[in-house]
Amino acid sequence: MFSRIQARLGALLDKFEKPIQWLITLCGWSSIIFVVAIFFFIFKEAAPVFPHLNWGEFFFSHRWIPVPAEGNEPVYGAMGIMYGTFAITVVSMFIAMPLGLGAAVYISEFATPKLKETLKILIEFLAAIPSIIWGFIGLVIMGPIIQNVFGIEVGVNLLNASIVVGLMAVPLIVSISEDSLRAVPDSYREASLALGASKWEMIYRVLFPAAKNGLLAACMLGVGRAVGETMAVWMASGGTDNMPTNYFDPMLLLERVKALTATIAGEIPETVHGSEHYQVLFVIGIVLLMISVVINVVSDLIIKGIHTDKNA
């Protein structure tokens, strides 16, 4: 019975080979369509503010006063917010890159097959934890720890957000670095070991140079992840924009910061559709979109190598 239905259905499907091919082709192009649509709709919502937004102020002022006191003009200076995103990205990468690369090298070169499998599954679980859970961990669990360790009033700050974002970016860095280390042919390893190199010398003299593109791309994608992270950053960073005078003051780690993503998430619900504030938040969306697309396209080119048409 079931097999007969299956055969009938199969015959029916085969009759429509041409339309099915068209449908498949259309779906194949869907990703391009959606990327174009994302650009189109975000530009469409932001466009009305383009002519009268003070761009100099937007990029180089850190006074973000979208809802001013009575009688004042709103000020949209996003530099303080961009600094926040930048600071979280840099500090989180200081955490994520060594941990991620170290773990990837261990998994790919030192671990026994069983341990390797276990570690990979655990790191996969780590990657599956949603960002709202990370935000909750930052707010409710790490916050009090940071308060106690440093003796400060508020535990949500740059350090907290960076640790959380760093841990979120690690699984991505591990899996891509591990892939690129595995892609190095075993003959490289064998040649190097046969010449008397220790395993560590083999790793940093042979494997790292051979896999450097993949490792670089892994770090770039980690940066992309950190820049685009929303919920965790929103809940763990404190949400106040400020512009430091001395960028190398370690106390900055305990300052609250505000990120581009968190600004959009926090302020869109307070705005009226079509208001200037709403449109400026879409401009911030454009900035984020540009950063992420550039990072992804460049790292994609790095991984695959820039194919010049030698054969064509």
Binding site: G102, Y106, L119, I132, I141, S292, D300
Partner: protein, 303 residues
């Protein structure tokens, strides 16, 4: 006289061996440092949630803005969000994967398609939310609703399914296809009868990953349909199982966690931990299926 062993390690070799073992343990430490604290935190999370975790916590609706009661409404909301978004994204994503691996010619257009998939995967979730507002909520007139949120999630998770499908199809040996073509089958017949059945586990892995993403994401549903509380009638079992319409706002577990953690004063701690524990439990449960599936796949691989 002391006999010298000609094979004893020289000082240089000893130094190398020491460095190597230091490096090895340092890297092992890094891997452990990644995993142990996170699992300790998750353990603490479940421990603190244990007082409220019970069947009635899952089955009761939130009362008093989530300060009392359970999490039934957010839980069923997440379920509906996942189902609707999966119905939207699975056909498109799987067909797109088939196109890229089976039909696409090796030219610049295919490179652009692949690049679009990677870019789509890298677009920040909050930008997807803005896109959802512009496209679905406003332009297509869906308003803030379950449908708009599901569409936004669907667009965001297309790369997950496309990538998984593409890899699953690429793993089917070319000889399988060639054998089928030689029997006189057309391209589509080959795909339907040979390629898809042999790659179904890999495709299912992608579907499972999509489900876990859709259940956990918060940012894309922030402005497209998630609500902190909804007023629904709860008189009958039917109402309880189908509390939402496609064109209405809904509650979701992830957004509920954000609300109870940050937005409402006087929230009992165990309610926060309870919501977090259920969400993370759900995600880990879903993901364990993909791992089981992969082990199963490897054990019955025919080639």
């Amino acid at each position: 006289m002391e006999s010298t062993n000609p094979f004893a390690p020289s000082p240089v070799e000893k130094r190398k061996a020491t460095t190597e073992s230091i490096v090895k343990w340092a890297m092992f430490g890094m891997a452990i440092l990644l995993i142990v604290p996170v699992f300790a935190i998750l353990f603490q999370l479940f421990y603190k949630a244990s007082p409220v975790l019970s069947f009635s916590y899952l089955w009761d609706s939130p009362k008093n803005l989530g300060r009392e009661g359970g999490i039934w409404l957010p839980l069923i909301g997440t379920f509906y969000l996942v189902v609707v978004s999966l119905l939207l994204v699975a056909p498109i994503g799987i067909l797109a994967g088939i196109y890229i691996n089976e039909y696409a010619p090796n030219n610049w257009l295919t490179r652009i398609i692949n690049m679009a998939v990677t870019s789509l995967a890298g677009v920040p979730s909050i930008v997807h939310a803005l896109f959802g507002v512009g496209a679905f909520v406003l332009t297509l007139g869906m308003g803030q609703s379950l449908m708009a949120a599901a569409c936004t999630i669907a667009v965001m998770t297309i790369p997950v399914i496309v990538t998984a499908t593409r890899e699953a199809l690429a793993a089917v040996p070319m000889a399988f296809r060639e054998a089928c073509w030689n029997m006189g089958a057309t391209k589509w017949q080959t795909i339907r009868t040979i390629v898809l059945p042999n790659s179904i586990s890999g495709i299912l892995t992608g579907v499972i990953l999509e489900i876990s993403r859709a259940a956990g994401e918060t940012a894309p549903i922030l402005f497209t349909g998630a609500a902190a509380s909804v007023a629904v009638r709860m008189s009958s079992l039917g109402d309880k199982l189908m509390p939402y319409q496609l064109d209405e706002r809904f509650m979701a577990l992830s957004y509920h966690l954000h609300v109870v953690a940050e937005k409402i004063a006087g929230m009992p701690e165990e309610m926060q931990y309870g919501t977090a524990a259920v969400l993370i439990g759900l995600i880990l449960f879903i993901n364990s299926f993909s791992i089981i599936l992969r082990v199963f796949l490897r054990s019955r691989k025919k080639w």
